[in-house]
């Protein structure tokens, strides 16, 4: 994620990664979270180099220190190279004031909606879009290559069934049978009218034991 300005993280955020680099200065890559942390610290117990520190327990060299308990040498800056104050260069470097607001949903949402690096409406070339979606090929009826089930569904509408350019394209693509308009069936079987159909019962009604005792009857003797 790259941006010109903004704040990342929050009071309950943890960051993990291989390394965290910052602005590359002339002397060294000044920000690296394994071993050395370069920048402005409110307080530093031990620091090899500190550009600004409100308080330093021990410092070999300090460009500025409000308070230093120990210093490696008097006039340290004259014996040790003084790191230069980073100047905005390749990567955006915007120091964040300690009083800067902590990121919260409202700030993040505002940044996403208004920042140059947030969510943006992108215009796509209509010709390219129709080429990708194939909507032109399928006469705005499909945005993808349809299956035979989808084609069958679409052809239920008489206006699509009669759309010659649409159906001919489907036939040319091998997605629809060329004989799809043949309306004479080759073989016809049974037929059924609107009235009820005579059928044999399949469900057992009543108690019928295996020997069909309940169905037995005697013919009256004359």
């Amino acid at each position: 994620m790259i941006g010109h300005k903004g704040t990342i993280g929050g009071p309950l955020m943890d960051y993990y990664g291989k390394s965290y680099g910052g602005f590359p200065a002339k002397v060294t890559n000044l920000a690296c979270f394994y071993g050395s942390l370069v920048g402005k610290a409110a307080e530093a117990i031990h620091a090899d180099y500190s550009i600004h520190a409100a308080s330093a327990g021990f410092a070999r060299g300090a460009a500025t220190a409000v308070q230093a308990v120990k210093a490696a040498a008097v006039g340290g800056p004259s014996t040790l190279p003084i790191p230069e104050v980073p100047v905005p260069g390749i990567m955006p470097f915007i120091p964040i004031q300690p009083t800067a607001p902590i990121p919260n949903p409202a700030i993040v949402e505002l940044q996403l909606s208004s920042s140059n690096y947030g969510i943006r409406n992108v215009a796509v070339d209509p010709k390219l879009k129709s080429k990708i979606t194939k909507s032109d090929d399928y006469k705005e009826l499909f945005n993808h290559d349809p299956s035979i089930h989808e084609i069958r569904s679409k052809l239920r509408d008489p206006q699509h069934f009669g759309n010659g350019s649409f159906t001919s394209y489907l036939v040319s693509q091998g997605k629809l049978n060329g004989d799809f308009k043949k309306n004479m069936p080759k073989n016809i079987g049974r037929s059924a009218s609107k009235t009820g159909t005579i059928r044999l019962g399949v469900n057992l009604l009543g108690n019928n034991p295996s020997d069909n005792r309940s169905k037995r009857f005697k013919v009256n003797k004359k």
Binding site: I148, R152, D179, P185, G189, R190, S191, K194, V202
Partner: protein
Amino acid sequence: MKILVDPQYNPEFESSITSATKLGPGITCAKFLGARGSRTQFQKLYADGFFGAPDLKQIARNLVLHTNAMKTVIGNTTFSQHRLIVSEGIYEPNPKFETQEIPSGSEAKAKKLARENSGGSYGKGPDGWVARIPLYVGERPSSNSVNDLRRTGRAIVYQLINKNGQTDPQKTFDLAVFWKDYIDYDKLSLDYDTFDPTGILTSQIVLEMPKVPASFDVSFSHNLETTFNGELQAKNELLEILAD
């Protein structure tokens, strides 16, 4: 005729209708949304005029009748060797919207015009105040066609699949005759086609149901027809069409 609905599956008692809303034992709305011929979601559907959300309760009520039809087949020994599937469920026309900018002269007029049109907005363009009115230019199913009725769940297309994973024209005819005698419907169409590129005969049943009000008081027309490749073969009669 008043349809009796199991309170457990009555969509009227549901606070909201989702794809997980149960319409019957083992049958949810998803059954009619995930058909292989028309996969869609409730969130993608539009109202009749293509602006705004549809009446999902109306759709669910219409689907209750289809659920009752499906229940007559599930567990029926006559069709125990076959599987009834929804091949074409709720239909979502391919949508497309365009925005039309109408010069309005003043902010008040632009605001008024935007309010009068659903989804409208207004703003200041390079030539003054304009009202931006969205226009639906996508697919519009023919009025009262099967696809039009499918938008609200009034029509659903079924297939009876055999053990080979294909439709069985003979058994489909049996099912159409069974449904003709045992369920209520507005129109039952036995539909055959050879649309498949291999030329195989495919059979399906299109069930059209009336619009179901909240009272579930409906009347049925009981019309029949048989079609082959979209062409009417028999009216008020079911005809069995067989492969070569």
